[in-house]
């Protein structure tokens, strides 16, 4: 099932054309997005997602997203949802049409979570490491590379996932050329060792994770230690657990990395999942 809400407070048919061919979101990937998980009618981390949408928009020099209009569109999707318990709710904000008056294009689209993602949450995934060609410090030196913006220009992220499939895996852990862990194409990496949760620093040029932040908040409250620190890809093999986390995939366990089995983290996964769910 899908429900599409526009920023003017109306619903639209998700299968009908809505976007012009000269929308800069289409022809230049010139826009930003967020995906919010909704469970039993309650959006998770809606505030942080809207904050990050605004942050990404600022990095692209886009007009500020109309927060109240997006909130209304989210409510409209929820009010009209008659599908399953969970919704992947995507917010899109583009620069609008080329040569236009600068009015951005925006919408909120609710959709079912794919069965593949549901299965991966339960069973875990195989991942491969792929070089993203980005050394530490580049983000600060070259902000025009938009390294930590959640833009619509995701062709590389999609190409990396296809490369993973070619290698018999479902997911990617991007690394620097020197082998430092970055993130997944649409997720944040969290490593656990001796009850310490570690995630790489956003200033490496990666997206600050909303789900990772929620997990860390819950973990800290329950007496776990959390840290934001560089992770060498080689260290993943000896960790107690490696997880790719995002709104839609929640806490997904990596059971195999570059074809090599990781230590069994089934129990740890259950503990982290309970921590994360305790936030809601």
């Amino acid at each position: 099932m899908r429900v599409l809400a526009l920023l003017d407070g109306t619903l639209a048919d998700p299968e009908a054309p809505l976007i012009r061919v000269d929308d800069l979101g289409l022809v230049r990937g010139d826009g930003v997005f967020e995906t919010i998980l909704v469970v039993d009618g309650a959006p998770r981390e809606q505030g942080p997602h809207l904050d990050r949408l605004a942050r990404s928009a600022a990095m692209l020099d886009l007009p500020e997203p109309d927060r109240a209009a997006f909130e209304r569109a989210i409510g409209l999707v929820l009010d009209n949802w008659t599908g399953g318990r969970e919704i992947a709710l995507k917010l899109v904000h583009t620069r609008g049409v080329e040569g236009g008056d600068g009015t951005p294009t925006g919408f909120a689209l609710g959709a079912d979570i794919s069965p593949k993602v549901i299965r991966q949450r339960a069973e875990g995934i195989a991942a491969v490491t792929l070089d993203r060609g980005v050394e530490p410090g580049l983000m600060q030196r070259a902000p025009w590379l938009l390294l930590s913006a959640k833009s619509l220009s995701y062709a590389v992220n999609m190409a990396a996932l296809r490369e993973a499939e070619r290698r018999g895996a479902a997911e990617v852990v991007f690394t620097t050329p020197s082998g430092s862990v970055l993130e997944g194409p649409t997720s944040t990496l969290v490593m656990v060792r001796d009850r310490v949760l570690t995630t790489p620093p956003a200033d490496l040029g990666i997206l600050p994770g909303t789900t990772q932040a929620a997990l860390f908040r819950a973990a800290e409250r329950e007496g776990w230690t959390t840290e934001v620190a560089p992770i060498a890809a080689d260290d993943l093999y000896s960790a107690d657990g490696v997880f790719l986390v995002s709104s839609v995939r929640k806490i997904t366990r990596v059971h195999t990395l570059d074809g090599k089995a990781l230590p069994d983290s089934t129990g740890l996964h259950a503990a982290l999942d309970a921590l994360y769910e305790s936030e809601y």
Copy 2:
């Protein structure tokens, strides 16, 4: 004026919505494009542009563009054009809608050349060098970075142009971290010294230029020397001329680089422009 032709051989209103909100070209920048210059009803380098569209599509594992359908759409735009002498004719080919049957989305959109580009062709431009963070060899090592594909994920290219504007310039010369010249965000760089035309090698991770290829073909026929070789950014200052070339901008002279005036290349520009025009 604008004319929009679809791949089924029909015309459509360019100001009416045509694209669904779940088109992967929009939500993932997952598609490819070309822009062909049409002068007095004649498309320039149509074959090489269609070849490159197919090459970019293959790099993104997209279905092969339907060449005959694109050729028909191009013809349809030309047949229905009642505007000025020149058309910027954009071809777009996306992965189609998410979770669909794999049918790509495609269209051809003809539009007037912007007055700014026309003026820049005559007057030249100021450019700035910006680091693209990509070292030589990365394209071969990490093909998933799509470094020489003309994809719809152009947010970085657009951000670089805005950075140039902030620095009082109109264009960008992307460089490697170690200062080797790459390309412009939507153009190819050609340097001229002692009647030798030089452009950087595509295997640095840049787009092979259709207009640059046409210019080199014409130059070779007229006894100039051409070469494909690395260019150090510092060498641009002492060249006889530095040009950014593309279908729409033709041969545009760079008169200022990083705020420093380059040697006057007005005469050289006229010679190259005549060479290029002699191809048609």
